[in-house]
Every structure is written in C-alpha cells, then in structure tokens.
C-alpha cells in the first residue's frame, strides 16, 4: 500500500491532526479510568494507597527483620516507600499498557481518534495515582525527619525520566500484545526480574562492586539512586558516583531515550492497522 495515494485525514494514525482533541481525549480517558478504578468500593481512593502501603509493610518487615537489608541506610523506610510508589507507577503504566488497546477495542473499532491517546491515558492514570501517593510519602518523610532541601526540585525531572521510560515500554507492549498474546506473561516475568534487579528493597550500595556499574545501567536503578540522594539523604551517593562517572549516566539515559523513540516509532507504524488486527 502506498501511503501517498491515501488522501488527507481519512487514514487512522497514532497522533491525529487535532492537538486539542488529542489532549482532551487523553485527559478524559485517564480521569474516567481513575474514577472507575475504585468505583463502587466503600473506601474508594484509599485502596489505591493501600496497595503500595501493604507492599511496603510486607517488604519492610521481611527485609529489615529477616534480611536486615535496611541496616545502615538512613531513612530506609522512606526510601523503600518512595521506591515502591515509583515502581508502582512504572508497572501500572507498562502492565496496563499491555492490555490497554484490547480493553479499548470498542472505541478503536467504532471511532476515529489518535490511537496514541490510549497508552498515554494509561500512563496519565498511573501518574494521578503517583501524585496522590507522593503526598502521603511526603508527609511520611517529613514526619520521620527527612529535611526539605533545594535538591527536591530534581524529583520532577526524575519522575519525567521514569515516565518517558514507562510510556516508551508501554507503547511498545501495547501494539505487540495485539499481535502476540504471550506478551502479557512475558512482561509479568520481566517485571518481576526488574523489581529485584532494581534497588527497591535495597539501595544501590548493596550491589557487589563487581556488578554495580553494570546494574546501574538499568535506568530504574539510576533514577532511584539519584532520588535517594536528592530527596532523602544528602549523604547517599549520587547516581553518577555509583555508576562511576557522570559520562556513564548517558547509558541509562540512552536506554530511556531509545525506549521512548522505538516505542513511539513502533506504535506509529502499527497504528493504522490496530483496529483491524484486534
């Protein structure tokens, strides 16, 4: 098929031609999703907080009492909780991304709209959650003695980097899942591996020296490590110092950019045929 023979505005695409509608749609879908998630439950939003808190409770108990992982880490509970909500954001965006196109089959088959809206709205819903969770974390941090500093301003940048990575992966997974249903279990397993490979229940200092620099290529490891330094304790090493030099940070940064670019490229390539392949 030659794309130049297809005239304007009638071919389905990832981005569409109306930026305002793109934005409105993304926000509306995300809001609706967020609203619906705990719709009909008595405690509502509390549940979206309960999940990371519960995970936090379990991991905290297991890793401090049984494994003593947090020993010597200043404000370990704050670190663990922050890492968990960031991780929750990442998995919500990526795992949600896997099934998002299929879940929106009705819309995709019946309505013309920029296809990219769907994985983006999943990321946005997760971001709403992250923002609400972060308020709780902030209170927890201040209550346990973490002092506000100017370096907190790094946090939005770190969150943006994480979002870029998560959306890139999410876009890629969403179109892959349309073709291959085994993407879902594969990603579940991958996410599990990534969870333990990233410094969530431990900090980057725990990595054995021999693998530390390699492990830090994982963008999540780099982001969490920098988060520890900027947000929780100034005495914690920066990502640059753990990976062994600022220049090396280009590796995790490169992975983030590649994930976003490849994810977007792949999504745009597949977008015109998503509706018929579903």
């Amino acid at each position: 098929m030659s794309s130049d023979s297809v005239a304007r505005q009638v071919a389905p695409s990832a981005l569409g031609d109306d930026a305002r509608r793109f934005f409105n749609l993304t926000v509306t879908l995300a809001r609706t999703d967020f609203k619906l998630r705990y719709f009909g439950s008595v405690l509502g939003y509390v549940w979206s907080l309960a999940r990371p808190l519960l995970l936090f409770g379990i991991l905290y108990a297991v890793f401090t009492i049984v494994f003593h992982a947090g020993r010597g880490v200043p404000h370990y509970p704050v670190y663990l909780l922050t890492a968990i909500i960031l991780w929750t954001y990442f998995t919500e965006t990526t795992s949600g991304g896997v099934t998002c196109l299929l879940n929106r089959e009705g819309l995709l088959r019946k309505m013309r709209f920029p296809r990219l809206v769907i994985p983006l709205s999943v990321g946005l819903t997760a971001a709403f959650n992250l923002a609400l969770n972060f308020i709780v974390v902030l209170g927890f941090a201040v209550a346990t003695g973490v002092e506000p500093r100017l370096t907190w301003l790094e946090l939005p940048v770190l969150a943006l980097l994480l979002a870029t990575l998560a959306l890139g992966v999410g876009m890629m997974l969403s179109v892959l899942y349309v073709r291959f249903r085994d993407v879902q279990p594969i990603w579940e397993v991958t996410a599990q591996i990534l969870f333990y490979a990233s410094p969530i229940v431990y900090t980057a200092k725990t990595y054995p020296a021999s693998v530390r620099e390699i492990a830090m290529i994982n963008p999540i490891a780099a982001i969490l490590t920098q988060m520890n330094h900027a947000f929780i304790s100034p005495s914690a090493p920066t990502a640059a110092s753990v990976i062994g030099g600022t220049a090396r940070l280009l590796l995790p940064l490169g992975i983030i950019i590649v994930a976003a670019v490849v994810g977007l490229w792949f999504f745009m390539r597949e977008a015109p045929r998503i509706a018929e392949n579903l």
């Binding site: 098929m1 505005q9 009638v10 749609l25 609706t32 719709f39 995709l108 019946k110 309505m111 018929e276």
Partner: protein, 418 residues
Amino acid sequence: MTATVRPYAPTPSPDAREPSVRIAGVSKAFRLPHQRYATFKERALHPFRSTKYDVLQALDDINVEIEPGEFFGIVGRNGSGKSSLLKCIAGIYSIDAGELTVAGRLSPFIELGVGFNMELTARDNVLINAIMLGLTRKQARERFEDIIAFAELEDFLDLRLKNYSSGMGVRLAFSVAIQVEAEILLIDEVLAVGDAAFQQKCYDEFQRLKRAGRTILFVTHDMGAIERFCDRAMLIDKGRTVMIGAPTEVARRYNALNFGTTVHQLSDDRLRAGEEMAGPVAIVDGWFESRDGVRIAALASNEECCACMEVRFNERVEEPIFGFTLRNEVGSTVFATTTDHLHGDTGTFEAGQTAIVRLIFENYLTPSRYNLTPSVARQGAGADALDLREDIASVVIHGGRFTGGIVELPHTFRISTR
C-alpha cells in the same frame, strides 16, 4: 416537548461542486490467516506455515461521490462490506488502494453510544461522550441541558447507565451525537431501538440536519428508512458495488438479492407431474408477476401485483371457477377471491388446452411474505376443487411502513367538530 432547539449552523461550503466524500477505486482486503499464530511458541514451531492466509476482499474497487447535503444510504447483506466501507471513510481502517477524500469535518464515530460506560451515571457519560466526539469540556457543559432535554431524560440523570433500558441509552447517545459539529455524519445501523415517538424525533432531526446542509452516510438493513430518508443509495455485495441509484430502486435490488430475483421456473419434473395428473384439471404452475409481466419473488408495496396460475385441462370443463388465496407469514388468509358468478363467464376449456389465469390487484399488502394457493373448481353448488396447490409460490412485499396491520387500505381522513 423539546425544550430548546439549537439551530444548526449552515455548513459553509467554499466550493459547492466539491463532493463531501469522494471514493475512487477504493479497495480493502483483510488477511485472515488459516491459523492465527497468536503466540511466539506457535510461530517458533511453525515458522513457515504462517505465510498461509486467506485474503478477504472486503471492498473491491468502490467508486462513488457523495455531494454536500446528501443523505446517502449504504445497504448490503451481512458481510457485504458496507460497514467496512463506512469504517474506511471514518478513518478507522486504512485502505489498500484507491483514493478517499473527505471535504469537511467528519463525525468521528460510526455508532451511537461509543464509549458509554455502564458503571457511570448518565450525567458523567454525556460529558465524557461529548468530549470524545470533539467538544471541549466547557462546550460539553454548556450543551448539557439541551442534550438531556432532547433525550427527555431529565429525571434519570443520576442513574447509572446499566440501569437504563436500551431505548433510553440510545436516546441519550443520539442526543449527544447530534451535538457534534460535523459536516459529514456517518451512521451505522442506528435507531433499531427506541420507541416510535423517539424514532420520529430522530428522523425529524435528520431532516433538520439535512436542511442545514449536512451530509449523512447511513448504513442499514432497513429498506423502509432508506426509502424514506435517503436521496440516493448504494447497494454493495461481496465488496463490490451492485448499484447506486434512487432509494426505491436500490431497495428493490436489495430485496431481490436477499430473496432471490425472478422465481424458480418450474422444473420439467413438476410439469410432467402435472401432465400425469389423473384428475380432469391440473395446476401446473403458479407465480407472481410484476406489472410488466416479469416473474418476481419480491415487490415493493403499492406496486401493482399479479398472481398467476397455469392450468392444464385433461378433459372438457365448462365455466370452471378459478380461485386465489393469499396467506401471510403467520398463515392468516389475507385475501381470497374466486371467479364466481360475479365475474361473469370464464369460458369453456377443451381437453389438452392450457389456460393462464391472472389475478391483478392493487397491492395494499404490508411488508411480509405471502404464499399463493391457487385452485380450480367446477361450476356448481358444491364447488369442490378439481385441483388446489397449497403455497405454490410466494412473494415478499417490502418497503412501506410497518404499521402492525396486515393490510394498508387506501384511505383518507376526515375530521370535523360538532
């Protein structure tokens, strides 16, 4: 009943000669693998077999131009490709070949209530749906009252949609849909539900849209709606255009396609069976004819119809009585008549002669399938049948209104006051 009727802004037409939708040589094929390789494992195990697939030609070289302000119907049987065509025009499917241009803003959806969420209230759904259709949040709020008033659902605003009846849901969806500022509307099979009053309201709304110069493309099975609203219609079958023309013509072709065109010519076997009949008289054939003498299986209501029988006389019969009975789908006798004394002489037939008897009648039948039972009887008090063939032929009457009655009597009204 409508609280406020917002007038539609007339469609600006920079160049009136430019068609709203131009479809030139459009083709679309779906690749349907024999076996869908949905997992990596299957693909890994059968790396070469995956190249086998069927190509389903959903659309094959479709050409049509739809003018601004036209109400254009697309009809076809299930799987004919009509919905695929609509989805290509809507920009939901990509096309493989040809050119498809659209001049003007296209409504983004092809079905009512797309994106409705059953768990949310009508209020939320209206706002969400309006935004999906391209309004801003502010516009959606501003028009909220109008939408609800049109749907006549003021009392059910905070009811969750899952507690709505299907008709109420459609009313809501339609009310939102007409708020879209589109110059070209695409509609796939709507208004199948909704009570008569609301349907009428919707059709009135269509007329208003039409007067405002909107172009409407309309996919349906309902020939009544096609004949009533469309300026032109297109019949497609197996992805190809069968015809484009006046709605009544298209409806006739559609019914012909559905019910078979001209009827079965009676097989030789049956004719021979007639010859071998021991009786003095044998009805060897029965059929329906159109005004111009063509055997038909379907006919538009209000078109003159002719029921026919062919009778072979094996012995001399004087003044036989020919009878016709029409029964509808449920087996009720709708009409029965005979050539009794009121019709005068039928004549005398010698052995070996064949007669063709035609009953020409004004077609006041309502849409249904009608079966013909012809009979021949001897003159006399007993009038026992010499031959009678139950349901020898049938005709489908289509078009017209569905009134619930079994006939559509010619009528006028006279209303006076005392």
